[in-house]
């Protein structure tokens, strides 16, 4: 069902859209797949790196404005904002002090008819940036992907606190 776009912290005036005071733009998601094709073999680490930087910056800014009390609230804010950002529907499946499992239904990559993994790599990076902030140091693994496995309707990511020895 289509509704007017609403988001916490968003404002627009004279062609400037700001989210919690930081300027944003809307872009078509296929730009990421396009850039992924240009990056070629190096697309996975590059897109993960870029996603990580963006994820870390976003959660720092959102946390500063919304001030969650605990990791559950932090996670809830991040995934709600990410869902409203157009990537698909994120939900949390499990949260503990050292692990967060996130599922993504309606991955925008799939809906666009593009089955390339570029958007998954970028999202992996975004969740790593978030995980680094939430768990101090995290590693993210996509262990199920609806793009490559037709028997599932969701992509599942596990965000794990990285052992210092790793």
């Amino acid at each position: 069902m289509m509704k007017d776009f609403r988001m916490k912290g968003i404002e627009s005036k004279d062609g400037i859209v700001r989210l919690f005071g930081e300027r944003i733009v809307f872009i078509p998601p296929n730009i990421i797949s396009l850039l992924g094709q240009i990056y070629g073999d190096g697309s996975k680490p590059l897109l993960k790196y870029l996603g990580k930087k963006m994820g870390r910056r976003l959660i720092e800014n959102w946390e500063e404005h919304i001030r969650p009390n605990n990791i559950q609230e932090l996670c809830s804010i991040f995934l709600e904002m990410m869902s409203t950002s157009g990537w698909g529907h994120f939900t949390v499946e499990e949260i503990s002090e050292d692990m967060i499992i996130v599922s993504l239904k309606h991955n925008i990559s799939q809906e666009e008819g593009s089955f390339t993994k570029d958007i998954c790599y970028f999202l992996n990076g975004l969740l790593t940036g978030f995980g680094d902030f939430a768990l101090y140091n995290a590693v993210v693994t996509e262990y199920e992907c609806s793009l490559t496995n037709t028997s599932t309707n969701a992509c599942r990511f596990i965000i794990q606190k990285r052992n210092i020895k790793d």
């Binding site: 004279d14 062609g15 309606h106």
Partner: protein, 170 residues
């Protein structure tokens, strides 16, 4: 304390609440949110050839927007197509636009509040300019106009405009 902030809405952007996808209103043009700086980074990391990449990204976006405009609006002239394009770009956060269009002669597009204001160094300014240039060139090409870029005036000052001037190939 966990602050319960109220949500505000944006005109001309809609959300598919079941899928959590966002679209330009009355189109199937899907969107995601990014900071201008993230956009620059997507092109910048490639190193050599990054200029071409953001022109290409801009061209992809411009062509897709024009296609959507043509499918959803009754367009009667090239000028009207560009005007609709600029309205869409304003709704998507790319600034406020003014255009001077003289058929078969020249097109000048001035951007107020350009996203170029969000970046600092010359290379980043160049990348953002390339992105806008890609959008404009592909839109002119989509409408069947053969043009070349005559000039770009960049300024990162908040009160200054950012402008692009094209001439039609005779």
């Amino acid at each position: 304390m966990f602050r319960r902030l109220s949500s505000k809405n944006l005109k001309n952007i809609v959300l598919d609440s079941e899928k959590s996808h966002i679209y330009l209103k009355d189109t199937d043009f899907s969107l995601i949110i990014m900071r201008p700086y993230d956009l620059v980074q997507l092109g910048d990391l490639v190193g050599s050839g990054s200029e071409d990449i953001l022109i290409w990204a801009g061209k992809t976006m411009g062509k897709a927007l024009c296609k959507n405009i043509q499918e959803t609006r009754k367009i009667t002239s090239k000028k009207q197509l560009f005007q609709e394009l600029l309205v869409n770009l304003t709704n998507l956060g790319y600034g406020r636009f003014e255009m001077s269009y003289v058929e078969n002669k020249e097109v000048k597009i001035t951007i107020f509040n350009s996203i170029v204001q969000e970046v600092q160094n010359q290379q980043e300014i160049g990348l953002i300019s390339n992105f806008y240039n890609g959008i404009f060139m592909s839109s002119l090409s989509f409408a069947g106009s053969d043009v070349y870029l005559k000039s770009i005036i960049n300024s990162t000052q908040k009160d200054s405009s950012h402008s692009f001037e094209y001439e039609f190939v005779k």
